[in-house]
Symmetry: C2
Subunit: 270 residues, 2 copies
């Protein structure tokens, strides 16, 4: 839908394992053609985009590798990048050029029914080249996401997985754990603040299972660092630490206010 | 503003330590009269409502105690209840009847500039009577909040502080710690999800310092339980625990979905 809305002159071929999804995508004009399988979908394609949960990327790449056209560019939309870059290097033929992408847009809602042409507008897309990445392919993939309204930046796959862990994967498990720990008695008292804090926990379990497991080494480290920070906070609850606690809370509030201002400016530059 | 908007026939006298706040409250019609001090404010009042940060309640009660009219009802809007109930018992004269209130409404914004007549509408107010509470006073305070559009429930001061700790005070420190732990590099990648998860961290530091310190015993316990849960999660990041992790994530998502549905129904009963 975003490609069509951006007026990019191309033929969009879609494949997904549910027939009903393909029919809805055809009906909405998001795709021009529904393929019978992954091999049929990539035949003659200039650009192939993997959009399944990250745990399926290895199988996807193995499936489509023999059918890829000469000079094809392959990318993905996964939330972890080290593994897909490794799998692509191992499984794709030399005439195919892989560039990892992480368009940071979406919502806790999933499926073709929640598709939106403006999903990517103003959001960020991280590209994760490494030493072996073809520069023309990298520029082409960056131009593609920018044509959909995204701002692109570049990180190594390892830096991507480490930074995104703290800012996205850790908040996800924290939100889920915060819901899981509540008694029904406490949940009955939940207000708007609690609903906001835990919104990201509403994501699809299998999708997030793949992300969290693929980034398990970084996430273990993030969880350990975060827990240590919380435990240290207990000391600030002593009456003699009142000023220190207030200063710590004010610093966190000021940091978030600065972040919010920066994000609003980023999205509305004028 | 809520009292005036509800059409309750009464005279509202306000006192606050900033003259500019009182002038704005007078100008907006929120109060009929600005008192010169706490003693002047409570003279002849039928209902006294303490609205400062919880750490000032003890001093407030000591200040107004000698000036309270016979049969006056005193309540508060604090987010912790054990201490204010204890202070009231110790400091108020026998002819004054105290009932603790916690109207669970508000936002991370603070001050008279953000005042809204509909702030309490559809939100919950917890009343915290104990063995010595006057039942007529309890009913009067409940009727007052209900007249402003709130749904009232009753908990003991101890149960209130324990339950509200898990559902509100713990999420607050988690949000603040999540902001505090980020590097600038990671913050640059923050999206809408991170802003939602950390919204409650934007509250006023001194206000929250008081709440967290007054509820320090419960909060230490909540932090320890939450951290233990997070650390246990690290085990589920092993590949052989994939099904268990997905089930855990789905259970949290389903629980939050049920909570959201219940809250929406509560706020829009029809």
């Amino acid at each position: 839908m975003a490609v069509k809305s951006a007026g990019i002159p191309c033929r969009v071929v879609g494949y997904g394992h549910r027939r009903s999804t393909l029919e809805k995508a055809l009906a909405s004009g998001a795709i021009d053609e529904a393929a019978a399988g992954p091999v049929e979908a990539v035949k003659g394609a200039d650009l192939v985009i993997l959009c399944t949960p990250v745990g399926l990327f290895r199988q996807n790449l193995a499936d489509v590798a023999p059918a890829l056209a000469d000079g094809v560019i392959v990318t993905d939309v996964g939330s972890t990048k080290r593994s897909v870059v490794r799998h692509a290097k191992e499984l794709l033929p030399n005439h195919a050029k892989f560039v990892g992408s992480h368009p940071m847009a979406g919502s806790e809602k999933r499926g073709v029914d929640f598709a939106r042409a403006d999903l990517f507008h103003g959001a960020r897309c991280i590209l994760t080249p490494d030493d072996s990445t073809d520069w023309d392919a990298l520029n082409a993939v960056a131009a593609f996401w920018q044509a959909l309204g995204m701002r692109t930046t570049t990180l190594s796959p390892a830096d991507h997985d480490r930074l995104v862990c703290d800012i996205s994967h850790l908040p996800h498990v924290i939100a889920a754990a915060l819901v899981a720990m509540q008694t029904d008695e406490a949940l009955a008292l939940a207000g708007k603040g609690f609903l906001d804090t835990t919104r990201v926990a509403s994501g699809d379990g299998a999708l997030w299972r793949d992300i969290l497991q693929e980034n398990g080494d970084n996430l273990s480290d993030s969880i350990a660092r975060f827990s240590a920070r919380l435990i240290k906070l207990i000391k600030l609850l002593q009456p003699e630490k009142a000023d220190e606690l207030a200063a710590w809370l004010d610093a966190a509030a000021a940091r978030r206010a600065a972040l919010l201002a920066a994000k609003l400016k980023e999205m509305n530059p004028d």
